[in-house]
Amino acid sequence: MANFIRFMGIRAILAVVTLLIVSFIVFSLMEFVPGDCAERYLAYKNTQGQSLTMEDIDAERARLGLDQPFIYRWVTWVSGAFVGEFGDSCILRVSISQLLGSKFLISAGICFAALLVAYLVAIPVGIYAAASRNPVVNNILRFVSYLGLALPNFLLALIIMLIATVYFGDSMSGLFSKEFRDAPWSMAKFLDFLSRAWMPIFILGWSATAFALQTVRALMLDEQSKLYVTAARARGLYGRQLLWRYPARHALGPIVNSLGFDLNRIFNELPIVAVILTLTEAGALLLEALARSNDQQLAGAIIFLLTATIVGLNFITDIALALLDPRMRNSVMGGRG
């Protein structure tokens, strides 16, 4: 048990170090961007009819702490970020955690749901495809999984959207119907949400499914040609019993490990799909923060949160794998750490 705790500790430290590196990169990139928060805010004020001088900008800079050295500001930002406090948005002047709030949770929920759907489809189908000697089945599946790449989510979203608009008259966009958009959470609102959320979940899950399908199939094919499968077959095991008992369990490890990268892929697609479907969640907010107002504070916060989610998932899958996989369990518990 002590070993397991140590293993968890090392993984946790690694995760935190990863996040630190990421935060440093994100923070530096946001620094490189021409113009800082003070200038941007005051330029915005300028457009509202107030005239401002250089002194005002310098005063604003001092107030925001932008005159401090780079490393100092990074440390402040990071220590805030780890407790979910990202300071104020550059232009809107509202606390970012308030601005993001439930929006981030909703989008993360949608992404996880998409991931879940992807694997619920991919694991049985992938195992079946790998076991099947039928060339037609295999070729169709190959074609479909390539199509997942060649017909990216945003194209799929676009096509579905257009068809829905033209033939059903309802744009299907947005996560809530009009009457619920600003209402507080209730059972009715939740049901309304579910009735609309399946669309983004399906669209985001589409390429993820295609990729997962390929991963599962390739892993199963690799495992099936191994000697232990032949040995099991020689003992008289066959069919589903054989598949689930041996190769599927072996393939589980790499599949669990690939979850983090699949989530990464879904996050990549999120902003674009969100724009097309006009969802009001983190992805679209990011685009708005960037394209319309150049709000680097908000953008940095969103990217940090997305990465933190992936790092968190990777941490959880590592731990889960250590518990699930007997080989890993032994090496973790068995003293070598």
Partner: protein, 373 residues
């Protein structure tokens, strides 16, 4: 008979790496078809100026045929057949009968024959100006894929879009390849602590969702930048997206190959390290690298398209696939101007072709692929 098999065996054992890969690649039907399509698309893109009858920018627009339907050349109609394909002329008029709106009508009596190598808009190749185009019609215009709302020829635009997207992708691949070679090479060559640290940084970067991050950067491109500057900037961004995955592969290749038995055998035979690197390591390596580059290419094209699609990438007057896809984002297009979607098909075909060829190459480059089956 004996000699024939002997000969083919000899040919097999003395074949170069390239010949072996090619002979394995040729056996895969899907990859060969995809390869054929890919080469066709690339050639169409490279010779876009020549094959496309009109200039893809606003200067080549046909103001008398805006939002015009595709004109497919045909051989036969009610007036009989002709060996030379033709299209119908279009009349544009507005009168009391049309409620004073511009209305285009097709005049089926007015045949316009397709001509080869016609003179048209000027274009430049290596500093020399040409004006010959592969085809055109006499006394009028031909728009195979129709025109958009300003009268730009969608066929010409599609070809130029393929060219731009391929160029951006190539630049991106080259940049990420150089980065990957340097970083992965250092990690794989030195190993140990340096490898550990570099791996940690690479992995950290790999966890950042690339598109949101680079959206953030692309959004700060000032509007005053010229089309060329944007083009280079987007290519650099794409290169930065791609390198971690490639670097990891380079490192793994290096680490694996360095300890292979054949390297040891060569060393024992007294080969110098220069000879080993040149004659053994590099050939074993290049095929994998080429495969990796081909595989990462569609992701570049996809990323460019995605960035341009949301308006953060390339913009008019540059014509890229993403820019063309952006034009399809309204319901009017689906209802009335379906030909706007033709570039989408080219995009899907291009990405699919790349993926199939990449997969075929990967199988062909793997010397153990035959042993596995």
């Amino acid at each position: 008979m004996q000699t024939v098999t002997q000969k083919s065996k000899e040919a097999y054992f003395t074949a170069s790496q390239g010949q072996l890969i090619w002979s394995r690649f040729r056996k895969q039907k899907a990859a060969m078809i995809a390869g054929f399509i890919l080469v066709t698309l690339i050639l169409l893109g490279v010779f876009a100026d020549f094959v496309g009858p009109y200039n893809p920018t606003i200067s080549g627009a046909n103001k008398d045929y805006t939002n015009g339907a595709p004109q497919m050349p045909m051989f036969c109609d009610h007036n009989g057949c002709s060996a030379r394909p033709f299209i119908y002329g279009v009349k544009r008029e507005r009168s009391f009968a049309t409620n004073f709106r511009w209305v285009s009508t097709i005049d089926t009596e007015d045949r316009r024959y397709v001509q080869w190598f016609v003179k048209g808009d000027d274009y430049k190749w290596f500093g020399v100006t040409f004006n010959r185009h592969l085809f055109g019609v006499e006394g009028g215009t031909i728009h195979l894929f129709g025109t958009d709302d300003t009268g730009k020829d969608i066929f010409s635009r599609t070809l130029h879009a393929i060219k731009t997207s391929l160029a951006v992708g190539t630049m991106g691949v080259v940049i990420s390849f150089v980065l990957a070679l340097v970083i992965g090479g250092i990690a794989g060559y030195y190993g140990g602590v340096i490898d550990g640290v570099l791996q940690m940084i690479t992995d950290a970067i790999r966890t950042v969702p690339a598109i949101p991050l680079f959206m953030a950067l692309a959004a700060f491109v000032p509007d005053t930048w010229s089309a060329e500057m944007r083009f280079f900037f987007i290519s650099i961004i794409l290169g930065l997206i791609g390198w971690p995955t490639l670097a990891r592969r380079v490192r793994t290749h290096l680490l694996v190959e360095r300890t292979q038995d054949y390297v040891l055998a060569a060393q024992l035979s007294g080969a110098g390290s220069g000879h080993i690197i040149r004659r053994h390591l590099l050939p074993s390596f290049t095929s994998y690298i080429i495969v990796d580059l081909v595989i990462s290419f569609p992701y570049m094209v996809l990323s460019e398209t995605a960035l341009s699609f949301i308006g953060l990438g390339l913009k008019d007057p540059v014509t890229s696939l993403g820019v063309l896809l952006q034009n399809t984002t309204n319901a009017d297009v689906l209802l009335n101007y379906q030909w706007y979607f033709i570039p989408v098909l080219f995009f899907v075909a291009l990405v699919m072709a790349f993926v199939f060829v990449g997969d075929g190459l990967r199988d062909a480059a793997d010397p153990y692929s035959e042993a596995k089956k």
